[in-house]
Subunit: 315 residues, 2 copies
């Protein structure tokens, strides 16, 4: 390995989730030198994490690695502990699981965050905390709610530079189960690329989020609309999507989420657009940020905080 | 066919659902002479309904048949129309789909009931209306809510001898999807025969039905309990069951179901027991009736109303 390489690559930032392993070689100023990914997600591995990682970064300099996501879960490389609320950036940095591999590489795995509450029976995030750190890197004074839509959608309350509360919803998985695995599959159809543009989506949002129809009381209507009104299957899929996303928004409001809070939607473009559209229908403003960029920003921020790369020590 | 047989069997009452075909040969006083069933449910047939029926009743007298359930759906033998609300017994009797088969057998298929509402986008029942007629046959003055738990749980409001409102919940299917098809399947286990006796069931009911935690906000706790507290998988399955059934009860209350209404739970024993236990935990009294018996009572009641067998004409 040449000195040129070592100088050129100061840190490897790793987003290691259930289905993908993604690594970025970064310069000491945080600039991306090279990006690689593979399908060696945590869900497809049983052991061999170090080998899977080294395979991906073969030829890169022996820089320190900082990793976020399911890599720190019980099924991951090493279980990184959960930090309690309120979870500040220094607290998360202090609980990084740091170790040196047999090859001599220094690795740090970001901890998750756990919640205990009298109102419900616990909740956890793992991976999203790093995106929140990225959000705070971009908007240091942010106070409000960050929504991270997906298979398991997370609403994260942020104030004073810390995660103060959060809530997980099974929205993406619920939609998928109902649309593709339940008897409602006979009443919906078409693709789901631009569902949020369809009238059915707006009607679904109206029912559950604006009018307060409980999600469990609303969902059979998908069948009734097909049966009684021969609704177009693609519009009915959009209606189901609206009911589920609207149900999530209503549940958050019922759970005490501040209706006037600043909202940042963090995620992939099409899903973020559906959420932005839902809030727009409800007359609420939102801002959107790219989830992938925020993971990198969060990892760089943490790496700076513990001195893996030079930089200020702001928490 | 001998006269003895014709005298002995005055009516064939048929409960023809998605998975089962069940026929009872009845005397003119409603007494059951013989019962038979087969797995020729509507879900497994594509045409050939008359043949499937005649196969089952081979050797029985050429009595008139009255049928309830999915036999009257679009996928059934003939589509029997839906009656609007309020659905009285005479209105249901008047909309019976009556025809004579090529073999010369007189058949009547019970219509379903449909709902239109500004608050939601339609609802339907098919089969349950006959159980409600059976309930009204047993308790002519009943006013309150009849709950028919199952894959698709129905809450039916009854007053002045009519169905005045109803609501379908996907409770059974939702439980099955979450317990067996979602990622929560890794956090639950054991059998579900006596779930409602377990502490987890009571906790789930408390969360969603007593404390008002929205179902969508509650369900991820199933995972968190396994992860953070290593809860016994069987108790966690009971907790999920409590969340779903409690979510149904809460949704019904939010939808305007009268909290002081008389409740009759109509169904199979183990499921009816879980619902009775849920209401008991909430301090509400219920009565339970056997669903199979009520279908027969409803069919006999309708047969009398249209003169297929002798009897009073009470509606």
């Amino acid at each position: 390995m040449s000195n040129r390489n070592i100088d050129a690559g100061a840190l490897i930032a790793v987003d290691w989730g259930t289905s993908r392993l993604r690594a970025l070689l970064l310069a000491s100023d945080g600039r991306v030198i090279e990006e690689r990914d593979s399908d060696d997600g945590i869900g497809s591995l049983s052991g061999g994490h170090e080998e899977a990682f080294e395979r991906l970064v073969l030829g890169w300099p022996m820089a320190s690695a900082i990793m976020a996501g399911m890599v720190g879960s019980r099924q991951g490389w090493r279980e990184a502990p959960y930090v309690s609320l309120p979870a500040t950036v220094p607290a998360l940095a202090a609980k990084l699981d740091r170790f040196v591999t047999d090859r001599g590489r220094s690795v740090a795995i970001v901890p998750g965050v756990m919640l205990r509450s009298n109102r419900r029976d616990g909740d956890v995030i793992r991976g999203e905390e790093t995106q929140i750190i990225g959000l705070l890197d971009r908007e240091p004074g942010f106070a409000g709610v960050a929504i991270l839509p997906g298979t398991h959608s997370k609403w994260v309350s942020v104030a004073n530079g810390a995660i103060t509360d959060f809530q997980t919803y099974l929205t993406g998985e619920m939609f998928d189960l109902l649309a593709h695995r339940s008897f409602l599959r006979h009443s919906v159809g078409g693709d789901d690329a631009s569902l949020s543009e369809r009238p059915g989506f707006a009607l679904g949002i109206k029912r559950t989020a604006a009018e307060g129809l409980p999600f469990l009381a609303a969902v059979f209507s998908v069948r009734a609309r097909a049966l009684l009104d021969q609704v177009d299957p693609a519009d009915n899929l959009a209606y189901l999507s609206g009911l589920v996303i609207g149900g999530e928004i209503a549940a958050a409001a019922a759970g005490g989420s501040d209706r006037n809070a600043e909202i940042r939607i963090i995620g992939a473009k099409s899903l973020a657009r559906a959420y932005a559209r839902a809030f727009d229908l409800l007359g609420r403003k939102t801002g959107s940020l790219d989830g992938t960029e925020l993971v990198t920003a969060g990892l760089v921020h943490l790496a700076r905080a513990i001195g893996l790369i030079p930089g200020n020590d702001r928490p």
